[in-house]
């Protein structure tokens, strides 16, 4: 079974390192983006199978990336991972088509469960 392609979008390299370790290397091919601009360039290059998306980043919000992802492929699974507690963030993410919304600190086990739910193997 070929690994699924996952794009990690988060400005914090330590969070990306945690996510990389969480995703089993034999099951996931991981790509990284360190911000909104970086993510949009990555999407231009290749649409992944699933996206883990931070919301507040120094060069913009995940809303820009989410909207562009859903415009390109409406059924692309996107999991928002954010430290934002404002309910409006969740509402906006869901309105733009986020498939799951996890707040930091998140449980790696729960994250893997959400990935399994969205991309059953």
């Amino acid at each position: 079974m070929s690994p699924i392609s996952i794009l990690l979008v988060d400005d914090d390299p330590n969070v990306r390192a945690l996510l990389r370790l969480t995703l089993p290397p034999n099951e996931a091919e991981v790509h990284e983006a360190s911000g909104v601009g970086d993510a949009l360039r990555e999407i231009e290059r290749e649409i992944p199978d699933l996206v883990l998306l931070d919301w507040v980043m120094p060069d913009g919000t995940g809303a820009n990336v989410l909207a562009e992802l859903k415009r390109r492929r409406g059924d692309l699974p996107v999991i928002v991972l954010t430290a934002e507690l404002d309910a409006r963030t969740r509402t906006t993410a869901e309105r733009l088509g986020a498939d799951a919304f996890l707040t930091k600190p998140f449980s790696p086990l729960e994250l893997l469960g959400q990935i399994e739910r969205l991309l059953p193997r």
């Binding site: 330590n14 945690l18 370790l21 980043m57 120094p58 430290a83 404002d86 930091k104 998140f106 086990l109």
Partner: protein, 239 residues
């Protein structure tokens, strides 16, 4: 050594705003995520990579979280007028060198620093621990504003009865509004979502003020931006 309680003054309180809460939430919850995440991975797996990586990452995140909590507590203490500082006569240059080395080691991206001490060696009246922290904050601010590999310049000189320390960078010049609010709490200069809470420059300003000094931020026509502070010279050096 003398202990000095800061005279009561109106704290720079402002209504909590959504962006301010967002920054605080980011600053606290990001390192907490790393601690919780790596700890949970350790309970799930005992493979070589997890065992090798997770404990160190947990320690680093705990240190980062401690820094944010310390900032919050210090700012709270300053605003409540209950922070004690202990100014003593200290030689500036070794403290600056130490602060530079520590800040460069912590910088999120590789930068170098040129340190220039002008005029006579200065002794200032300051709390050494806070002085190192103030310089570290300004250096980190300059590093965050700079491109990878950039050189940050630090210059110290004596002017009248004060030692002036300036950190120069080639980052985007400040607008008038940014210059005026650079040292405010949750300053707009600090981008949301980064590794900072937006309290660092405010805390530095208040610590300088508590020690009888002042801060400034300015950009010039050559495109250089300077964040600086001045502290009073120790009594034996004045005049």
């Amino acid at each position: 050594v003398r202990n000095k309680r800061h005279e009561a003054r109106e704290p720079d309180l402002e209504p909590a705003s959504a962006p301010a809460l967002s920054r605080l939430s980011h600053g606290l919850r990001t390192p907490l995520s790393l601690i919780v995440g790596y700890a949970e991975l350790l309970t799930m797996r005992r493979d070589e990579q997890t065992l090798g990586e997770a404990p160190q990452r947990i320690l680093e995140a705990a240190e980062q979280l401690t820094g944010v909590v310390d900032d919050l507590l210090t700012v709270y203490a300053i605003d409540a007028n209950v922070l004690f500082v202990a100014p003593v006569s200290v030689e500036l240059e070794p403290l600056l060198q130490g602060a530079v080395e520590a800040a460069l080691a912590r910088a999120a991206q590789p930068v170098t620093a040129d340190v220039e001490q002008r005029a006579r060696p200065a002794r200032v009246l300051a709390d050494p621990e806070y002085l190192v922290e103030i310089v570290g904050t300004l250096l980190e601010n300059a590093a965050n504003r700079s491109a990878e590999g950039a050189t940050i310049a630090l210059e110290a000189r004596v002017e009248d009865d004060f030692a002036r320390v300036e950190i120069r960078d080639d980052g985007t010049p400040l607008s008038d509004e940014e210059r005026a609010s650079a040292f405010d709490r949750f300053s707009a200069l600090v981008p949301a979502g980064g590794r900072t809470t937006g309290l660092e420059l405010y805390k530095a300003r208040r610590l300088v003020e508590l020690q009888g000094g002042r801060v400034w931020a300015e950009s010039d026509d050559s495109g250089q931006t300077r964040f600086g502070f001045a502290l009073p010279l120790a009594t034996e050096q004045v005049g």
